[in-house]
């Protein structure tokens, strides 16, 4: 259960056995079935989640009830409503499993205690959040370009292998394009050998 998260942490910081055990002691195993929600808007959010197995989306419903996917998470990604989690404000997002998923959750107070007890975790989360910041900025820049093809290729780079697992309309929603125009682009790319390296 802890293998993938320890491997992920180990990429960035080296833990002693004692530190590793302490870290494991603050993680809670969570199973969630496809289509179930982890987070709903206007609620308080006490946890963030590491994906051991499965796929989740974070999305926002606008005033007209239109759904906007903000984030995908697959194995080795963290997902949560970070504004709600870190700032104690009510959540704005839905977080929903789109495959049966196995997660490890950490509670806000336990995370703060982890930073106190094993300060190396500051580095681990700094590196992760920096990557998250850059991905999010890339997403904004990408949405300013007109070409669906470029945006789709950037998506595939940001979420390697996810395009096989996620419905076309989910990706189209994330990219802010119609499902039809994304299908057209994907068909053209499959014909193009550059994409099949």
């Amino acid at each position: 259960m802890y293998e993938s998260i320890l491997k992920h942490v180990n990429k960035h910081i080296k833990l002693s056995e004692k530190e590793r055990n302490y870290f494991k002691s603050v993680l809670v195993s969570v199973q969630i079935a496809k289509r179930k929600k982890l987070v709903q808007p206007s609620t308080l959010v006490k946890h963030e989640y590491f994906v051991v197995k499965g796929c989740l989306i974070g999305y926002y419903l606008d005033d007209n009830g239109k759904k906007h996917i903000i984030q995908f998470a697959i194995e080795n990604w963290w997902i949560g409503d970070f504004d709600a989690f870190y700032n104690g404000v009510p959540s704005k997002l839905y977080i929903e499993a789109i495959e049966d998923a196995e997660l490890l959750a950490i509670q806000y107070d336990d995370l703060q205690q982890l930073f106190e007890t094993v300060p190396k975790f500051e580095r681990y989360f700094r590196i992760l959040v920096t990557s998250g910041f850059i991905s999010l900025q890339d997403r904004i820049l990408s949405s300013l370009q007109n070409e669906t093809k470029v945006r789709y290729l950037e998506f595939c780079k940001a979420y390697p292998n996810i395009e096989q697992r996620v419905a076309n309309y989910h990706i189209a929603n994330y990219l802010g394009v119609s499902a039809e125009s994304l299908s057209r682009v994907r068909r053209k790319l499959v014909k193009n050998s550059d994409f099949l390296m």
Copy 2:
């Protein structure tokens, strides 16, 4: 020159005199005149910048030459092209002073050395980047709402006092609305006493 950055750091971590001196030794003072650029696209970016005085914008020019302001920075903000800085890829952004500005720059290698020598800085930058991530996500959510008024009020919350210093068309560009519709919203808000608290 170092007063404001030390005060800012001190909000999040406590430094000894030795650590403070080491930190100061890796900062480089930079003066930049209004309308001059710190960063241009397709260049390598070796520094990120803390604003001691002045105001800067980070923007992106799309394929049609249209400018999109991605970030404002005033006193006590850090600004840079973080993708280029952290990942060593060519920059995509322009960073330009819109007032004469006084900055403190830190070089990539010096920052890595700072993390090694004074690991507390991991915490400082983790907290900053987490706020940056949340602001950026808020910006995406805000752009999904239709009402210019709500988006403008969120902008004022994210960048307190900046609306007095920055041209109307800069804010309109950041919000992705026309300068005329922003002016209308601002005039209405000025009439509304709630906004004048």
